[in-house]
Symmetry: D4
Subunit: 146 residues, 8 copies
């Protein structure tokens, strides 16, 4: 049995690589999917495909339509979702994806530093598991296969 894991969250640090490497070292039978990690490409994909837009807001609307297409297709293919909240940025997309995962019946592993416990308390209660590091998240994943 293989599982597909969607990795939701910010795309400015290398946390996905850490998770993938640890899962590989543990030989876990998992496939990882996730959002476009090239930040510029994620922002510009709307204009790249659809052409120049009238202003920044419409440029964003165009990009988001393609990012949402990508996320919905890949999340529906997933068995479990991991969502990481980092130190910076508003990360409303992460909250949106994590909540959508719960609503679609996809088990959610939430990764957040302890200092974020207060603003994430309601989302944390909705998650199946809340951990504080990617190491712990991988251990949770490993437990499923034991």
């Amino acid at each position: 049995m293989r599982l597909t894991v969607y990795l939701a969250g910010e795309i400015h640090t290398s946390w996905r690589d850490e998770i993938k490497q640890q899962a590989k070292d543990l030989q876990l039978p998992v496939d990882f999917v996730g959002p476009m990690e090239d930040h510029d490409r994620s922002d510009n994909i709307g204009e790249e495909i659809l052409g120049e837009q009238p202003d920044k807001i419409f440029k964003d609307a165009a990009a988001s339509s393609l990012n949402n297409l990508r996320t919905e297709i890949l999340m529906k293919k997933s068995d479990v979702v991991m969502a990481l909240f980092g130190e910076q940025y508003k990360q409303w997309n992460t909250a949106m994806d994590a909540s959508a995962a719960v609503a679609f019946g996809k088990p959610l592993i939430l990764i957040r530093q302890e200092n974020h416990h207060h603003p994430l308390k309601e989302l944390s209660r909705k998650a199946h598991v809340t951990v504080e590091s990617v190491d712990q998240a991988v251990l949770a994943l490993k437990y499923i296969f034991e």
Copy 2:
């Protein structure tokens, strides 16, 4: 036909009162529900009902279990959800509630200032309507009954 509207979003300003007043002035047949707006009560409800908790994180976990209970019951009773993003705070709860609304098939009216268009671009695409003020949100509500 009456509609029930869930007002998701921050509880530090009086935006809900504005919406309620405008809807009343327009005589719209709507009932409003939403989260606990007394911020201290929302934070302390866990310990008030369940007793003192070991530390701040467990206090938050206790409170969030009751806030989630409230939100889920009331949102399921709703026909449409309005979610407002303000200038301050992380507002991950707002993103969570807005995303849950979409996933549950509840039409979503997103209210956000123009300067937030970038971090909210994906959520905005998922919303039925994105507006920039409570006045516009009420006009959208009014349009349903015309």
Copy 3:
């Protein structure tokens, strides 16, 4: 027992008034809902609420977000959908609403002239009943209450 009926279809002729009048004459316990019937208002509602848009396409996008909001809320409140195809216009909205009704599990009464049988054959097979006039559609509605 009262039923709510959504009347999907073109908004250039008075077919909705005929149905409402006949239902009233027969004293059927039904409430009718439907799209905005003021054509200009339906086209302009986006700019009226959200302000001027960059061009015609974005004006349409803004209007359609509000029209979709309205349709989705009202159709979800309905027990049965009637969709009329007239002689003119592309009427892709009517096909879209009729198909959405079927997919949402709302029984569909399709009204179309005989000369439209070929392009509507697949949709007709998905409908519960296909009739050729509003008079017949009202008789179908009446049969439910006998």
Copy 4:
């Protein structure tokens, strides 16, 4: 990960071949399905299997029952739906299939010339992405795999 793509839309031009060729050139791991593209066979399949029917309408009803069977089975196997609106014909089937895709939770890529933006504005808002050419549609598909 392979994806199955349902290609809804008119069957009089070779747009499906273009998409298939481009996807092949890009080595995208996708399988394409769609309606019967032999127009005569699509129209006559009812009588071919069930025998002669009383008149044209019943011939259409017989054919559509088989076309709907085919579409429903294949669309349920799909991960994403592309729907193309061309210049000619009523194309109510295309609108019906596109709307059914949305209602079934299948992400929709809508392909339409700019001059069709007005009659398709509501459907366009329901689509995940609206593009103006098959080239753009293939780029959207490619983005999912990047």
Copy 5:
């Protein structure tokens, strides 16, 4: 709390009247709905509304489209379904309605004589309760309100 009860089954005997009378005597807060009980009207409704059909089969197809419309609307309004199998007729409609009730999550009370236990054994296992008389069925209904 009032409950709506759909009474599926043959329309040649007065079993529905017995149930209604007993429920009335017991002052149970229930509303009964069901199929058209006028047998001729049920058979002819297609031609009455849609006009003469080419032959008996098409006459049946027309009638059944209206009977299905009626059944689906009324069954969706119901909280529980009672299905009675009598001594005569094929009663495939009754089996169809009973099975649809189970699949739609509507609790099913099956009424059948003991001599029918063998051909109905699988349907009986799917029912919530199987009884042998309308008297017993009413007692089951009464138990819900105690």
Copy 6:
């Protein structure tokens, strides 16, 4: 807005009366439903309606078919489920009803003494709120209406 509350759990003590009295004192707009509380009637209802059964197991099967009918109808009418685990009996029915509530999307308030925390730990995590007394359960209910 009124809410319907299903009270799952053992029927040997008067905990339901306590909850009802407290809710009445607080003037909460709630209606309570629940299982047959007359223990003998619950055990004998199968034979009372269906007649004598071959042995105890079949007597139980007959009774449970009617109890399940009752529970399913009433739970589907509910907005929230409270499940109390007491000191005695196996209470597998309570676990079954609580789990069904969660699976049906009904928010669950779990009431259990602290000494039961270990065997109920997984169910507790699935509940929206876990409390230790009926007093606390009523406060949770009251919080929804504040």
Copy 7:
């Protein structure tokens, strides 16, 4: 793409073998599943596994629990259901399986002789396709792969 086809209907004639042979001759990529075709085994399976039962009715109840287990697992694995009504027997199981297929969203191909059109008219309207012979049913299946 392979499809799994559930063959519902009577188990006294060899119609399933005919369908399987024709599908094999046409090299259709389909797998067939269906009910236990050994009639005695189907009737006795309850007592064979669970031991002797008190009487015929309980023997039937035991057998049907295993037959329903089998049918539900296999039908859920299927992409399309074919249901054949023959000349003899009550065939309420066939009507039950066909109706469950429709309710579960499985496309249904109904096979019945013309002389059965009247008692099957409502079920026929719910089917995607109604044919009169296994030959026609196989042609319908073949059409999906063209």
Copy 8:
């Protein structure tokens, strides 16, 4: 066709090994999944991954979050659930898993000694099949493939 079977129930005896051995001897094409069978690991997994917790209750809460994650992922991958009730322990988890299986539409095979028939009567009625031994459960599984 292979089936995945979730084995719910107590983890103190070797009943799962018996089932696996018998299925292997019969060469049934099944894969078995289930909860963590190392009792200490199941109890301690929360602290092992998340670190020391304030007290026993919070230790349990942490462990259960990981056990629920595991169960939900594996049960969703399953085609059928077997739940065994043994002689000892409260086994509320087993009742919870069995009930969740039914609610998720997973066919349930219930295994319980005859002396447990009374407290399990309602759950037994919800199961597809109730047997008294693992041998019988394997025979039920075997019947699906005949």
